[in-house]
């Protein structure tokens, strides 16, 4: 479903701030894979997701989504294949627009925008139904502005938007990091449920080791723009948090164990 081949991304080429964020990264996702991604600050996790999404052009290598070479496709063209939820709850929705306007826009992801009315009555019924499944009381607030919602509600809405039009790959970048623990757990459960029910292929970046172990069928650990360690299937189910920390310390060298990785 996704092939990342020898991808290199350098920020600030030729300046003193030059930073190799992705250093010949290779990754392959099968259809239905749910991969959790861990790694210290600056390991290149966000850069990997952003490169797949086309936020910026990569310097070398190839990215293929479901057989289509998207390496040189612009961000909005790739969006047809991707659902995305960001760390910042503000980023995934248009605050000054209503819940139904946001949903209707997401329902048309990858489609041509025409002079038809932005929403149909049939869609309104669908959205009400879908929102009521979130159990956040949003189903009665279709015409409320998204800016009035809490961070957790906005992330739940963004998740719904990302999966409304079934994506080939769902990209989640620390999408619960800005939420309080209880809300974060709820949004995470919702993510897993949506991925399961729609049989989606997904990548989820997290700093929470327990979540990384608990969710998904594969886990990858990144460091300095490369995949340091990867585990899947049964071996992943048997994984303990302590194993991961020890592994990270060994592979990356003791000095590199970031506080945030050890955290949680």
């Amino acid at each position: 479903m996704l092939k990342v081949e020898q991808v290199v991304k350098v920020f600030g080429h030729g300046t003193i701030n030059e930073k190799v964020a992705l250093n010949g990264l290779n990754l392959s996702l099968e259809k239905g894979d749910f991969v959790t991604v861990i790694g210290g600050n600056g390991a290149g996790k966000s850069t990997m997701l952003n490169s797949v999404a086309g936020v910026y052009a990569v310097d070398d290598g190839k990215i293929v989504i479901d057989g289509v070479d998207v390496t040189h496709l612009s961000e909005h063209k790739r969006a047809a294949y991707l659902g995305r939820v960001f760390q910042d709850p503000m980023m995934g929705t248009a605050a000054d627009m209503t819940i139904e306007e946001n949903l209707a826009m997401a329902a048309r992801r990858g489609k041509k925008r025409t002079l038809r009315w932005y929403i149909t009555n049939k869609e309104r019924k669908e959205y009400t139904e879908l929102l009521s499944q979130l159990e956040l009381g949003l189903e009665s607030r279709l015409t409320h502005k998204v800016g009035l919602l809490s961070g957790g509600q906005r992330q739940a809405l963004t998740l719904l938007m990302a999966t409304l039009q079934k994506p080939k790959i769902l990209l989640l970048d620390e999408h619960t990091a800005a939420l309080d623990p209880k809300t974060a757990a709820k949004v995470l459960e919702l993510s897993a449920k949506l991925i399961r029910e729609n049989n989606l292929t997904a990548m989820m970046v997290t700093h929470n080791m327990n979540d990384a172990i608990k969710y998904g069928n594969r886990l990858i650990m990144m460091n300095e723009g490369q995949i340091l360690y990867e585990v899947g299937g049964e071996a992943k189910q048997l994984l303990q948090k302590e194993d991961l920390i020890a592994l990270f310390a060994k592979k990356a060298g003791d000095g590199l164990v970031s506080d945030r990785v050890l955290l949680s």
């Binding site: 909005h76 995305r84 248009a94 000054d96 627009m97 209707a104 992801r109 925008r113």
Partner: protein, 299 residues
């Protein structure tokens, strides 16, 4: 006095079309687009020159609006394709239009269309006086424009433009080319501004190279007055509020002039009005903090 007010109403309606254009760039796209100064004059110059050359005033007015669309396209391309900041893109087009406008008017600073047929003479021939014809034409244009805008911004395409001004990031993630949305918004905005310029030129029987100077500030003043006084409610109400704002602005100007303010001070007056209005939210926030801390101390 009634004459003064009716005159202000007429002028306000003609300028309201311009204010709606400013609304699209400033509020919908969240861009300060200075192209407005040039495209208002462009509309006046095109309509004036064509009418002076014997063209049908309706055709001339439509061509003027068309020229405005192109001015918006220029700014849009400078901003999105060449990555020049929005403010500077607008300034570049505005400066370029100064020369273009002089050329359109045959290398003169103004074109007179006195005693020639305009969009108002149709109505004047039916026995209406000049001011009433201006009011009728202005009201019809303004209402037509807001009806079309109301419909357009409710479509898939229109809501994509609105979202672009709100959160570009989200819009691109939904597979929309935000560059095209910005260009389209600027095109519509400047088309309306040029249309307004054409209507104004015909009402005063001449087009002048200086007409657009300060237009953006007049547009902003009208927009903010409209929002503050009548701006609550749905999208249609907000559009109507903008028209009313443009009218109220003209009434205020007419009154201060009547009270004896020298007309040379008008632009200073308008600029101060806008500065005060724009800082109001901050001032309100400051007041709220003061109140809160006062309460805190009382406890």
């Amino acid at each position: 006095m009634v004459d003064v007010l009716l005159g202000a109403l007429a002028l306000g309606l003609l300028w309201s079309v311009m204010t709606l254009g400013v609304y699209i760039s400033y509020r919908v796209l969240d861009m300060a687009d200075l192209t407005a100064e040039g495209s208002l004059t462009l509309g006046a110059a095109v309509a004036g020159s064509m009418i002076a050359a014997g063209a049908n005033p309706l055709v001339a007015t439509l061509c003027a609006a068309g020229a405005g669309l192109l001015a918006g396209l220029s700014t849009g391309l400078l901003h999105t394709k060449l990555k020049i900041p929005a403010l500077l893109s607008g300034i570049l087009t505005m400066i370029a239009l100064w020369s273009v406008n002089l050329r359109v008017m045959g290398n003169r600073a103004n074109v007179s269309i006195l005693r020639l047929n305009t969009v108002y003479t149709f109505l004047q021939n039916w026995g209406l006086d000049k001011t009433t014809s201006m009011i009728v034409v202005g009201a019809v244009c303004a209402l037509a424009v807001i009806s079309v805008l109301y419909w357009f911004f409710g479509t898939e395409l229109g809501s994509a433009i609105r979202a672009t001004g709100n959160n570009e990031h989200m819009v691109r993630a939904q597979g929309i080319n935000t560059d095209n949305m910005k260009i389209l918004g600027l095109v519509i905005s400047n088309g309306l501004i040029a249309l307004s310029g054409a209507l104004i030129a015909q009402s005063q029987s001449f087009a002048d190279i200086q007409m657009g100077t300060g237009a953006i500030v007049i547009g902003l003043a009208s927009l903010i007055i409209g929002e503050v006084l009548f701006g609550k409610g749905g999208f249609y109400k907000r559009l109507v509020a903008i028209i009313l704002g443009a009218v109220v602005y003209r009434v205020i100007i007419a009154l201060v002039l009547k009270m004896g303010m020298p007309s040379n001070d008008l632009k200073l007056f308008t600029a101060i009005t806008v500065a005060v209005a724009l800082s109001l939210p901050r001032f309100k926030g400051y007041l709220a903090t003061l109140k809160r801390s006062a309460k805190g101390e009382a406890k």
